[in-house]
Each structure stands twice: as C-alpha cells, then as structure tokens.
C-alpha cells in the first residue's frame, strides 16, 4: 500500500505542472496593464507613470517570461496567487472564505444523488426490462439533457415565486440549501443511475454469481457478499468525480441561486474580467480535482486489493 500511495503521489506532479503552466499562461495573455489595474483597485486616485513603473517593478512584470513563471511558481507554492483587480483582496483569502460553502453544497448534492441513484440503478438492474427499469433509464437520459441553470430557474419560479415554499436565494441554511442541492444532484442522479445499473448488470452475469446461485445461496446473501462489494469500485469512482465536478462545475447553478461559493465568485470575476480571481478559480478547480482523484484512488485501493498490486 505504501508503494502504491507513493506512485499515486508521483503521478500528481505532472498534473500540478500543467496546472501551473495553464494558470501562468492565462495571466500572461491577459490584455490590459496589470500594474495600473491593481493601482486602481488599491484606490489610487491619480495613476502617474512613475507609480505604474514602481508597481511593475514590484510585480517583476518586465522580467523575461521564464523568470516570471519561476516567480509565479514560488509565490504559488507559498500560497500567494496575487490580488483581485477589483477589491485588491488576496485571491487565496477570497477562495478560503468561500470554499466551505461550495463544499457543503457539493456534499449535500452528492449525498442526495447517491441516496436516490444507487437504489434506483440497483433495482433497475434486478428488474431488467420492467417498466421500472424503463422509468429509471428515462430519468437517466433526461437528467443529463436538461440544462441545470434552467432547472434552477424553473424551480425558483414554482417553489419560491408561486408556492412560497423555499427562499429564492440559496444560503447555507437548511431551507436555503434544498433547491440548489436538488438541482445540482439531477445530473449526478442521471450519471450514477446509469452507471449503477450497468455495473450491477455486469456483475449479476459474472461467473462467480452464477456459481453462488448454483451453490444454492439465497439472493440476499449473493447480493450482500458477492454483488455489492464488486459494485463499490465503479460507483465510488464516479461519486468522487461527481463531487469534484460539483465543487467546480456548479458555478452556473451557484450563480443562479446567488450561493456564496467559489463558483459564484468566479463567474462574477469573469464578468468583470478580474483575471487574478479567474486564474485562482482554474487553480482551485485543478487542485480540487487532483485531491479528489487521489482520495478516490486510495479509497478504491483499500476496497480492492487488486488495484494495489498494479
């Protein structure tokens, strides 16, 4: 297991390198003068050429690109991702303040999705070809075709504006989280139902299940000891990926519900071209993906001894 963990950690290095290149590249291609934009954000009234020159020197903007990349990397390793063009707040602080809200929302959505989709997909597999199976598959197809931001608006229209059941704006309160979590879990449910169903179907037709049946084991025992443990790996993989996606791809839904998370902040920054905050989002998203993938791989390795020996 120790060697496996080390090999997973080593595999992360090139990904981190690519993230750093992407982030630095995004900053390097930004049109407009970073120095004067930052001076404006600081609230300097009259921006003199001398002040700009001073700021440029402070940010090492006139160094050659490879040197600037080295500087960027050193700062990033220290957790310094620059300051917002608008509020002059440090980007890292802005993200640390909001990432908890995003994590709560993503966690609820993943949980909700798992609670609904795993039983749905399992039952569909066991009753293959039934009306129930058809309904589950329809849910799966529909869930991945409907745009999330639109469902969010439709929910707000019916549940908030018409019925006054739930607040229009999402907030990290029990009542405020229901609608955003529900909307986010939809695509999750679609993917997970489809996957659970096909994973279950696959396992149910394996030889070891047939052998277990031939031995005369009860269906319940077969399910508990032979089928479910084998379904854990694919389901866990997708759950992890979905969680990572919800931490980052939820930006549009967060925006619609005005959820105080990193996605909403990134969209707001994107609309006013606040580059440091936008780049911070790309870095945050990359780091979240890397971390979640690593956790999923390690979780799978603990469940499945075959993976460890690879």
């Amino acid at each position: 297991m120790g060697r496996y963990i080390l090999s997973r950690l080593a595999a992360i290095v090139p990904v981190l390198f690519v993230i750093s290149l992407l982030a630095f590249g995004l900053e390097a291609i930004t049109p407009g003068d970073t120095a004067s934009l930052l001076l404006q954000a600081q609230g300097v009234d009259t921006i003199t050429p001398a002040a700009i020159a001073l700021k440029r020197a402070e940010l090492h903007l006139d160094d050659p690109l490879p040197v600037r990349y080295g500087d960027w990397l050193l700062n990033a390793l220290r957790g310094d991702f620059g300051r917002s063009f608008r509020s002059y707040a440090p980007v890292r602080t802005m993200y640390m303040e909001r990432i908890g809200n995003t994590a709560i929302l993503a966690g609820c959505a993943v949980l909700l999705g798992a609670v609904i989709a795993i039983p749905l997909g399992t039952l569909a597999a066991y009753r293959r070809g039934s009306i129930f199976d058809g309904a589950a598959q329809f849910v799966a197809v529909l869930g991945s075709a409907v745009p999330g931001f639109w469902v969010a608006l439709v929910f707000i229209f019916f549940l908030s504006a018409r019925l006054h059941w739930l607040p229009v704006f999402g907030s990290p309160t029990p009542k405020g989280i229901i609608m955003p979590a529900l909307v986010l879990s939809l695509s999750n449910i679609a993917i997970l139902t489809r996957l659970t169903r096909s994973a279950m179907l696959d396992i149910l037709n394996r030889e070891f299940v047939q052998v277990a049946r031939a031995k005369g084991l009860s269906p319940r025992t077969i399910t508990r000891t032979h089928v479910l443990p084998n379904a854990v790996v694919p389901i866990l993989t997708v759950l992890g990926l979905e969680a990572a996606h919800l931490m980052t791809g939820a930006a549009v839904v967060e925006y619609v519900f005005a959820w105080p998370g990193i996605g909403k902040m990134a969209v707001d920054a994107a609309l006013v071209r606040d580059t440091p905050v936008i780049v911070g989002f790309a870095v945050a998203a990359g780091l979240i993906f890397v971390t979640v993938n690593l956790l999923v791989d390690l979780a799978i390795a603990t469940f499945d001894p075959r993976v460890r020996s690879v």
């Binding site: 197809v141 529909l142 075709a145 931001f149 707000i156 504006a161 890397v290």
Partner: protein
C-alpha cells in the same frame, strides 16, 4: 488518476429472454429521437425563412405580449417575436456545437496522431500532457479562458476547443497506435510512402468511424456548455437570439411571463435529448459488443 470505469459490454450475452419486445421499444425510441432531431435541424435551416418574422426586429407597440396568432409564444421586452428567436437560436446552438466538435476532432486527431507516430520520448511527453489535461475540469478551464480573452461567441468556441481536445487525442492516439501494426502500413512504407501520406490516405479512413461516434456522444454536452456560458454572459452577446442568452434576458420577467424563460430551456433539453438518444443508437450500431444491452 482515478481508474476509468470499464464495464465489459458482452456480459449480458446469455440474458436475452425478453429481448424481442425490448429491442422493439428501443427501436421506436431511436426512431422518435431521429425524427425529433430531423425536425430541429430542419427548423434551424429553413425555419427562420419559413416563419418570415425577423428575430431582431424591435416593435415598441408590441412589447411583452401574451401568446397570440401572430406571435404564438408572445413577444419579449423589445417586442421581438419569441418563436422567431427560438428558430434562430437553433441555428446558433447547432452550428456552434458543430464547430466545436469538428475543431476538437481535428485538434485531437492531429495531436493524437503526432504522438502515436513519433518517437517514444515525444509520445511519452504528449501522453503525459493529455492525461494531465484530462484530470482537469474542461468547462471551468473554458470559462476562465473565455473570461480572460473577453466574452464573445468565437472566443467561447475557441476556449471549448482548446479545453476539450485531450479526450479526442487520447482516443485517436490509441486508434492510430493499433493501425500502425496493420499490414498495409508496412506495405506503404516499403513502397516509399511518407508518414503524412500513410496517416491521411490510409489510416484516417479506418479511424473516422469511432471518432464520429465520440463526437456525436459529446455533441449534446457541447450544446449545454455553450448555453450555460452564454447564459452567464460569457458567450453569445445580446441581441443575438442564442437560447442561453434568451433565458438570461427572460429572467427579469419570469414571474409574469414564465414561458419566455421556459421555452428556450425546453428547446435546449429536447435538442440534447434527441442528440444523446441518437448518439446512443449510433454507438450501438457501430460497436457490436453493446448491441444486446
């Protein structure tokens, strides 16, 4: 990164007792999806001409009207006919997604093939790059790139291509690596053919099928991505009637005129649904292993 979930598709070989009615149901679903897709494509191509009303023509006397015979879906805040705008929106969504799918396919093909036909070192570097990019969320990177380049439809298409080629490159690389072992490649090399000649004249026709299936499978997702980012204001800009833009514009009036927001969303959902179902059928037809599922 996380192990890919691979489900052996031939696992169900023996379990087809109820196959006949199910296959029948599946066929009718496919037929319905293809018919719906045909209607949407036709609406996009000739719809705006047939309908005759201008999607951009403002009419201050007819602002925010309820559905009527002249305006079956009513008019928006500038008195523009919503049905005409939906038809034009179909054009933008479909052509936009088409451009992105072609662009990513081409980029993925060029990079994947370069990797597969190059030395082991180059292949290793490109392979690592592809894997690293695949480990990152494409839509988030597209959002960031569009925002930095400046919000516009061409920039959005460019950003989506730049961020989504890796999955295509991986598949093309695998396909070309397999083709490289084929006898016809040795024969061509013996005849003195150059690498580009072999790739474009002999290998390309052999790998185009699976790649087309992949592009179709991604098409629906691209439409959703385009609509989401346009909705946020990072893609198509008003007054162009793109579906995401229309939903955003209708947000302010959704309490009193809900269908202005509901109609474009339904268009997106139906289009993606039709494309995804057709894509599934296409994959089943091309990949004999999954036929029985």
């Amino acid at each position: 990164m996380a192990t890919a979930v691979e489900i052996p598709a031939n696992a169900l070989a023996g379990a087809t007792t109820k196959a006949a009615p199910r296959r029948h149901a599946k066929l009718s679903v496919t037929a319905a999806a293809l018919a719906l897709l045909a209607v949407i494509v036709l609406a996009a191509i000739i719809g705006p001409m047939l309908w005759g009303q201008d999607a951009l023509a403002q009419n201050s006397a007819d602002r925010l009207t309820n559905p009527s015979l002249t305006h079956p879906l009513g008019t928006d805040k500038y008195g523009r006919d919503i049905f005409a705008r939906l038809l034009m929106g179909a054009r933008w969504s479909l052509t936009g997604a088409f451009v992105v799918c072609i662009g990513t396919s081409l980029t993925g093909f060029l990079i994947g093939t370069t990797a597969a036909m190059s030395s082991r070192t180059v292949d290793g570097v490109i392979g690592r790059l592809i894997e690293s990019l695949l480990a990152l969320p494409g839509l988030v990177m597209a959002l960031a790139l569009t925002a930095v380049l400046g919000p516009s439809f061409p920039n959005l298409l460019f950003a989506l291509i730049v961020t989504s080629w890796p999955s295509y490159a991986r598949i093309y690389r695998a396909l070309i690596l397999k083709e490289r072992e084929a006898g016809y490649v040795d024969s061509s090399t013996a005849l003195g053919a150059t690498k580009p000649h072999i790739v474009f004249r002999h290998m390309l026709p052999n790998v185009v099928g699976p790649a087309a299936v992949l592009a179709t499978a991604n098409f629906g997702g691209v439409i959703l991505g385009l609509a989401s980012l346009s909705f946020l204001g990072l893609g198509m800009q008003p007054p162009t009637p793109e579906w995401g833009v229309m939903i955003n514009e209708a947000r302010a009036y959704f309490q009193t005129y809900p269908w202005q927001m509901i109609a474009p969303g339904l268009c997106i959902a139906l289009t993606v649904l039709a494309i995804n179902l057709s894509g599934d059928a296409l994959r089943d037809a091309f990949d004999p292993r999954v036929k029985r599922r």
